[in-house]
Structures are given as C-alpha cells and as structure tokens.
Symmetry: C2
Amino acid sequence: VQEVIGAMEYTVQKLARLAGVSARTIRYYDEIGLLKPVRLSSSGYRIYGRAEVDRLQQILLYRELGCSLEQIQQIIASPSFDALKALQQHRLQLLNERKRLDALIANVEKTIAYTERRIEMADTEKFEGFKQELIERNEQEYGAEVRAKYGDETVDRSNEKLMRMSQAEYEEAARLADDVLATLAEAFETGDPGGPLGQKNGGTA
Amino acid sequence: VQEVIGAMEYTVQKLARLAGVSARTIRYYDEIGLLKPVRLSSSGYRIYGRAEVDRLQQILLYRELGCSLEQIQQIIASPSFDALKALQQHRLQLLNERKRLDALIANVEKTIAYTERRIEMADTEKFEGFKQELIERNEQEYGAEVRAKYGDETVDRSNEKLMRMSQAEYEEAARLADDVLATLAEAFETGDPGGPLGQKNGGTA
DNA sequence: TAAACGTTGACGCGGCGTTACTGTAA
DNA sequence: TTTACAGTAACGCCGCGTCAACGTTT
C-alpha cells in the first residue's frame, strides 16, 4: 500500500526535526493530549499538518518560559486574555523561585565560609598538635642533654617561642619543608630558635 | 518480650519529630543508605542513637542548601576539605540556575508585553468591527429615511465621525453603556453625533 | 481491646530518555 | 535486502507522599 503525503504533512520524525525536539517528545505530547496528529495514516503513522506545526511552536514557546505542560494546555486552550493571566501567574512563580534560589545561594555561601573557618581551625589544631609533638619528641631525644647544657630556663623559653609561632609563620615555614624542619631541629639544639631561621631566611619569628 | 531503650535512642517517629521531617523520609534515607539506624530492635524496629541524630542534622543542613541526596552522601563521607569543594561546586550550579531563571523571567515578561499588545489589537479590531456593524445597522434601519431628511453628505459625515472615534473615546463611552448607545442612536437620528454627546457628557468627540 | 506505633511493598508525580521488540516504507 | 523509519510497552530518574496490609507496643 502506498500513500501520497502532501506538501505540508509530517510524520513524527520530520516534525521532531523541524521543531528541534525528540520523536519521543512528539509522541508524549500526543499521549497526554497536548498535540494530537491531524490524522493517522493507513498503517497507523501519526500525520501532522500545518496547524499542528503552529501549535507545536506555541507549545515550545511556553515551554521555554518554564511553564508545565499542563499550564501550556490551559494557556493554549484559552483566549489570549486568559493566557495573559496565566503568564502573569507564571511570572510570579518564577519570581518566587528566584527568591528561594537567592536565599539558597546566600546560605551556601555562609556555609562555605563556615567550612573554610572550620578547616582553618582544624589545620590550626593539627599545627598545634604538630608543635606539641615536635616539642615532646625533642624533649625525649635531646631533653636531658640540652637541659643540662643550657639550663631549664633557656629550653623552656625556646619551647614557648615555638608554641607562639602563628599559623601564617608556620605556613611560610612549611613552604620550606624539610629544610626548615632541619633548621628548627638545629635551632632547638642551639637553644636559639629565632637565630638561624632569622639569618637563613629573613624569618618572621 | 520487653526491651529497654536507653535515654538517647530513637525510633523512626521520634527521630522524625525531633528533626522535623516525616517518618517516610527517615526510612527512605535508610533505604538509600544515607542514614542507617545504629541497630534494629528484636522486633525489627529501627533504632537511632546520638551519632545518627547528628548525622541527620548535617544531612538536613545540606538538603536545605539544595544539594541532592547523592551530593550529600559524598559531602558527608568526605573530609571537610572535599566538602568545601563540593559546596563551591554546588554554589556554581545554583548561580547557573539563577542565570537561567533570570533569562526565563525576562522572556516571560517580554511575552506578557507581547500578549498585551495582541489583546489590545484584538480589542481594537473588535471595536472597529463594532463601529462598522453599528453604522450598517443604522443604515438599514434609518438609512433611507435619514438620508432623505438630511441628505447623503450629512449622513456620510456622521458616519465618518463615528469611525474616527478613538478607542479611548469609545471606552469612556462604553462606561455609560446603554445610555450612551441610546445617545449615539439619537445623535445619528439628528445627524449630529458630536452635539448631544458633547452637551451631555463633555465628550471629547 | 483499641490506639498508636512499627514493618515492607507498591504506585504516583513530571517530562521525557532509553531500551526492547516488532511492523512498514523507500 | 537493507536501512531508516514507524508503532507500542515498559522501566528509570528524584524525593519522597500516600495508600495498603499486617505485626508490635502501650
């Protein structure tokens, strides 16, 4: 069986390509009664005409405005006066959504700031822990020897100085990695943490 | 069988009420592995403890930020450094959504303006049609008689004047409804549409 | 015993994408 | 015959709401 399709008749795919949507979308619109074919071919194919093309254009217009397919149904079925009211209603919805979104964004930004502070604090804690550990290790390894050499007062002053080191100073120090760690150890040995670091790197301690 | 539940143990509803969500939500979070109960009671009830309460609080925090439950899974499972990255990523998503929304709103407003113009034009067309019809009816009803009395020229001038009436003038007239329609008819009979309307209402014609 | 809890299982929403299987046209 | 279409039917997505049908605790 052969069927001649006139100049302005479209099957699903042709219509879909014409309008830039998927064939599934076209069939779905038929399914929900949003866009019915003008007729069916003898083998059951959906055939769309000019009127349907126009209607689809309208549908897509409102869809791009973020209307639901149900809203579109009503808008298209109504005189333009009601369509206007529907659009104004829809505009209010969008404005509300934007308000909600603005609030979300503000909160996310607050949370980001908060998380950053927490990370900073966590880092600081780690740093404090690190310093504490460093001192303890030094005490264990060199404690008795160094204290015997320089006296408790000097060693305690050295430890205090290390504990007072700020995060920023630490970070600067951290960039120098092993070199600096070695320097710290050396400084500890000499009982003068400020000295070598200062001379070697123009340090801030 | 009796089971003693300690001070900080919650069943589904208790936890739900504590956190202000539905029991279904709690069970769903279990289902997808987002929030597992600490244990099951002997009769299969879900039992949640303090740690689960805390976790739920976190989940709800991120949920309020508009994160998907999957994102929340990852955020919570990660060290806070990765959580920060996830949040920043999420913030970008939100900003994009807002941009899209702004574009939607702008387009909706354009479409509203366009629809308003179309309605205005449609009204104008209706109005033109209405005037045309009015004249034709008058011609049929009184045409011969009036033309005989006042001559073609006077009648044609009257009709022209009516056709030149603006929409604004019409709307003013329309507010006076039947009264004005009677006046128009009367004016037509006297062959002087401007006169009576002007005297009665300070009309603009 | 009744009420208020608990459980699992299933469908529904919106707008299609994506198979899977089968029939038709060029 | 191949290939590119056409059709229908079905599940899947997300975050639950909302039954239904049944067991447990109070």
